[in-house]
Symmetry: C2
Subunit: 125 residues, 2 copies
């Protein structure tokens, strides 16, 4: 298990536990967070902690890790955000030389209907 | 670079190059492909090759790899599907003991508007 794996495991544990001090320690001060689907960006550790605490209040949600894969300074994770229903989250992390997370790219894909042209090639589940 | 990394690098090179023989060699005969957003599933190598060749015909699209991260028997990738515009694809792969890909979970997230409640916490790009 690499440091890149362990850092992201600790990241999701901190978020799920609302341990903002621990989360702060895992992040580089100049961390940049991006969500390409909505083209939202948050720059800097203080702003990212504020984003987490203010955008997602309440105690009713949890994070369940499906997969964490780390190698070198890069990690990917697949988690489920559980509140009313399960929402998958796919994230890519880059670590700096000190092992802190300095770049996060998050995808939170929403369900959509498949195109009809390939209906004969797949099953639905 | 792990075998899990190399298998997925070869997978995307084969798909981008329409090298279906190479793609076949990379896949376990019992490979299962799932796309959670649309709840589509394809079972088995022959059906998956058919899905690739028939659902995505034409020569106008390409795959650009943003990131491949492999460790042990697991790999994640972030690619861009380029046709008219760029469409990100996030994929998680499991390899069997022989190093063949036996499970693929693909997400092709579509853009959406961010919720207004967090507008003051982010910038847009």
């Amino acid at each position: 298990m690499s440091n890149a794996h362990e850092a992201v495991e600790a990241y999701w544990t901190a978020i799920d536990g609302r341990n903002w001090g621990t989360l702060t320690d895992l992040l580089a001060e100049n961390v940049v967070y991006e969500a390409p689907e909505t083209r939202e960006r948050v720059r800097g550790r203080a702003a990212f902690i504020r984003y987490n605490t203010e955008a997602f209040p309440g105690e009713d949600w949890h994070i369940f890790v499906e997969r964490i894969i780390g190698a070198g300074r890069h990690t990917a994770s697949w988690v489920q955000f559980s509140e009313v229903s399960l929402q998958p989250g796919l994230s890519f992390f880059d670590l700096n030389q000190s092992g802190q997370i300095e770049r996060i790219t998050d995808f939170w894909p929403i369900a959509y209907d498949p195109p009809a042209y390939r209906a004969q090639l797949v099953e639905r589940y």
